[in-house]
C-alpha cells in the first residue's frame, strides 16, 4: 500500500518549547517542595520521599498506556496515520516511565521489605506491562511498511491492554491462594499535597515528551511522503 494517499500534517513546534521550559520549571519546583517540606514517616523514615517520584511515574505510565490503547483503536477505526504515530510516541514515553517505576519500586522495596523484588500483583503486573510495551516497540522496529506497522502495532497494543487487568487478577489469586502477605503502600494525608503536585508536574513532562516524539515521527513520515511523491513524478 503506497503512502502518498494521505499527507501528514506536520505539527508546528513553536509554542511547545515554552511549554517544555514551563513543565520542567514546575517539576523542579514540586520536587524540591515535596522533598523539603515532607515530614519523615514514623515507620519508613525518609524513605517515603521516594513516593514523590515512584507514584507519579507509575500514574504517568498508566496514562501513556491508555493513550496507546485509545489511539490504536482510533487508528484501526479511521486509518489516519497520525493516530498511529501518536500511539507509538505514547508507547515510547510510557515504556520509559514504566522502566523508571520498576527501578524506583525496587529502590523502595529493598529497605522497606528487605528484598529487591516481590511477586505481588502490583509489581508483577507492572513488569508484564513493561514487557508488552517492549514487545510493541520491538514490533515497530522490525516492520518497515508504515501501513502494516500501524495495523500490527494497533492490534498488539489493544490486545496487550486487554491482557493487563487479567494478569493483575491472576497474580492476585496466585498470591492469596498461597497466603503470602501483600505489600501495602499506604500514604497518610500529609503527603498527598506533595504527591498531587508532583503528579501534575510529571503529567506536564509527559505531554511535552509525547508531543516532541510525535513531532519527530510526523516529520520523518512527511519527509518519506514527499520523497515518494517526488519519485512518482512530481505529484507535489
Amino acid at each position: 500500500m503506497t503512502a502518498v494517499a494521505h499527507p501528514i500534517d506536520v505539527p508546528r513546534s513553536g509554542r511547545w518549547t515554552l511549554f517544555g521550559v514551563v513543565a520542567f520549571a514546575v517539576l523542579i519546583f514540586t520536587q524540591v517542595f515535596a522533598f523539603v517540606t515532607s515530614p519523615p514517616d514514623a515507620n519508613m523514615g525518609q524513605l517515603e520521599k521516594i513516593m514523590y517520584v515512584h507514584v507519579p511515574a507509575a500514574w504517568i505510565m498508566f496514562v501513556c498506556f491508555v493513550i496507546v490503547m485509545v489511539y490504536s483503536l482510533r487508528f484501526l477505526w479511521k486509518g489516519r496515520e497520525e493516530d498511529d504515530l501518536l500511539a507509538a510516541a505514547a508507547a515510547e514515553v510510557g515504556a520509559t516511565f514504566n522502566g523508571l517505576t520498576l527501578v524506583l519500586g525496587m529502590l523502595w522495596g529493598k529497605p522497606a521489605w528487605g528484598v529487591w523484588w516481590a511477586w505481588d500483583a502490583r509489581l508483577t503486573s507492572t513488569l508484564v506491562l513493561f514487557l508488552v510495551f517492549v514487545g510493541y516497540l520491538a514490533l515497530r522496529a522490525f516492520v518497515d511498511d508504515p501501513q502494516r506497522r500501524g495495523q500490527w502495532s494497533a492490534a498488539v497494543g489493544i490486545l496487550g491492554a486487554i491482557n493487563v487487568p487479567i494478569v493483575w487478577m491472576s497474580v492476585t489469586w496466585w498470591r492469596t491462594l498461597h497466603q503470602t502477605p501483600s505489600s501495602a503502600q499506604t500514604m497518610a494525608p500529609a503527603y498527598l499535597a506533595g504527591l498531587w503536585t508532583n503528579a501534575v508536574a510529571f503529567l506536564l513532562i509527559m505531554i511535552y515528551f509525547i508531543r516532541r516524539r510525535y513531532e519527530a515521527a510526523c516529520l520523518i513520515r512527511a519527509a518519506e511522503h514527499a520523497a515518494q511523491a517526488t519519485a512518482l513524478g512530481g505529484l507535489e
Binding site: 499527507p7 501528514i8 500534517d9 506536520v10 508546528r12 513546534s13 513553536g14 517539576l27 520536587q31 522533598f35 519523615p40 519508613m44 523514615g45 525518609q46 524513605l47 520521599k49 521516594i50 517520584v53 515512584h54 511515574a57 514515553v93 520509559t96 522502566g99 523508571l100 527501578v103 524506583l104 529502590l107 523502595w108 529493598k110 529497605p111 513532562i205 515528551f209 516532541r212 516524539r213 513531532e215 519527530a216 515521527a217 510526523c218 516529520l219 520523518i220 512527511a222 519527509a223 518519506e224 511522503h225 514527499a226 520523497a227 517526488t230
Partner: protein
C-alpha cells in the same frame, strides 16, 4: 535503618532525573534529526510548509 535509607532516597532522585533528562535529550535529538531529514528532502523548513 533510617540513616542508610538516605542512600536509597538519593539514588531514587538521581535515577529519576537521569532518566528524565536522558529522555529529553533523546527526544530533542530525534526532532533535530527529523527536521534535518525533512529539510533535506523537501528543501524548505517544516514551518514554512505546514502540511507536507
Amino acid at each position: 535503618m533510617v540513616a542508610s535509607n538516605w542512600a536509597f532516597v538519593t539514588a531514587s532522585y538521581v535515577i529519576t532525573w537521569v532518566v528524565i533528562l536522558g529522555y529529553l535529550l533523546h527526544v530533542h535529538r530525534a526532532v533535530q534529526q527529523a527536521r534535518a531529514e525533512y529539510e533535506r528532502v523537501t528543501g524548505h523548513r517544516p514551518e514554512a510548509g505546514g502540511a507536507a
